[in-house]
Amino acid sequence: MQPTAVPSNDGSDIALLPGQVSGVFTTARPTFGAAVDDFLNRRPVYEQPLEFPHNIHVGKEIACEVCHEGVDKGPKAGIPGLRTCMICHEAIATDRPRIQQITAMRDKGLDLAWQRVYGFSNDDHVRFNHAPHIRNKVECATCHGNVGEQTIAQRNVEHTMGFCVNCHNERKASIDCLTCHF
């Protein structure tokens, strides 16, 4: 049997999504260079399909969970699709070229292929769930940094295990391994 790349849980064949970090070098890396990049925390620059201005939206006092609506309901916060955008932009700022661009895309039945910025790779074996964190009043900025001041979301908080565990310790949350790793 020839070993093949680990399929990721969401059905794509790529073991590591762009921007995902892994703590260890494993044979799951396609090449040695990829392993070195991964070890040194060098991530590819992700090309987002659209320059989404987080700062403008947050500046209009729109809460994160308005668009990332899964965040208090389950594991995934969710990256909004065009339909979410159009809830407002059907009416708001329709004169801007970029809004017209996405309206046109929606009309053609297309959607935006957002690249994930944060996330765990498969071999971190982390089952992260947003909901309990939101329920326990953890600020989004605690783990995602100053996304509200960025245009394109940049990854500027490293989600190492020490980062998680320190917070769990401070908040007296469980630090049992099986809280996250299973």
Binding site: F25, T26, T27, T160, M161, G162, V165
Partner: protein, 451 residues
Amino acid sequence: MTQPSGSKINDDLLRPLFHTSWRFFLLVAVFGGIVALGLSTWMWQARNGYGITGIKWPVYWGFYITSFVFWIGISHAGTLISAILRLVNAGWRRPVTRCAEAITGFALMIGATFPIIHLGRPWLAFWLAPYPSDRLIWPNFRSPLVWDFFAINTYLTGSLLFLFLPIIPDFAVVRDKSTGLRRKIYGALAMGWRGTPKQWHRLETAMQIMAVAIIPVAVSVHTIVSFDFSMAPVPTWNTTIFGPYFVAGAIFSGIAGLLIAMALLRKFLRLEEYLLPLHFDNLGKLLLVMALLWGYFVFNERLVTYYGNEPAHMAVFWRTQSGTFAPLYWTMVTCNFVLPLILLGIRRFRTITGCVIASIGIVIGMWLERFLIIVPALGHKYLPYSFGIYRPTPPEIIIASATFGAMCLLYVLFAKTVPIISMWELKAADHLPAKHPHSTAKEQRLGDSHA
């Protein structure tokens, strides 16, 4: 027989360093090729996954762990023997110690790679070391494998230093006898050695301290290796006898390895005047004692299992005694007990050839012993549904065999770069304190049995 001394010692023992024959290159090429084959096989295994070996459910340890225990056992040749002989100040030790200590160092290096080779994820082997990390998790100090890590590292460090310290004066000799780059390298290795009484005295005191420290370490190392097995509730593993049994077996196979190495060195480096039949005779007697001790331990282990009559234990017992593994088992008994008893017990057979044949038998037998401890028990563990058998695959066999090539390669390189017999210790025999009127200097040096 006249004993060599002074500059003749220099000439004889430095010859391999300064004169390179085609045989050296041939040996390096052959053994280097074997090692390269082993390394590439290992890379292949790391690349493809562990599945290319014969390991399977439920026999999760096989050739690699067998080789690990075997090589750690071989490593007990040197430091232990040479430390004991040093401490009791046995005069005949002088030509033997260094080749014994070299075996220790190299066998340990080889043995210590096996736990890494056998890991499912060898690139994470460093997790056994306690190092600062943001996870704050350190190794489990209650695991025998962590004890192994500490014990083997201590023993490896200790025995390499134990090997290195008495070479320093000999490095100085090479430094004085050579020119150019070689002089610089050996000069650095000699670390400013001149040979003042202070240096000699400190060196000998240091060697005494090292000898005292290394003996308990050596005993602990193989006891801890035995703990890898005896700590687990596996039939026939979970027994208190494993500690001493493994230590005795280790010394046993170690002496056998040493005898083989000595015979080869004597032949190849023309050291007939230094490695005398006396040394083989003495070590042969020691080997005989260890064979008897081994027999005693095996008898104990078998008898206790037999009388305990526990079903799970008896299943493994009969599997080795008369079942699948019986041919291997009785080969082991023949190699480890019958053969040495005949060849070493009868004085007429205890020649150099006899010792070497017995030693080869013992090395094979001791390898089999470890295999027979590991595999039959794992394949016959309690629930009959999960019984299984293990057969090695070519990659495992290649890697396990390549380590013998690695041992030979390291030894050839060592004998090429370092005088294989401690020159200053031979010379020192002429300058022993005169307070032992019954032993002459010659006897002190080589323990002349022809007197």
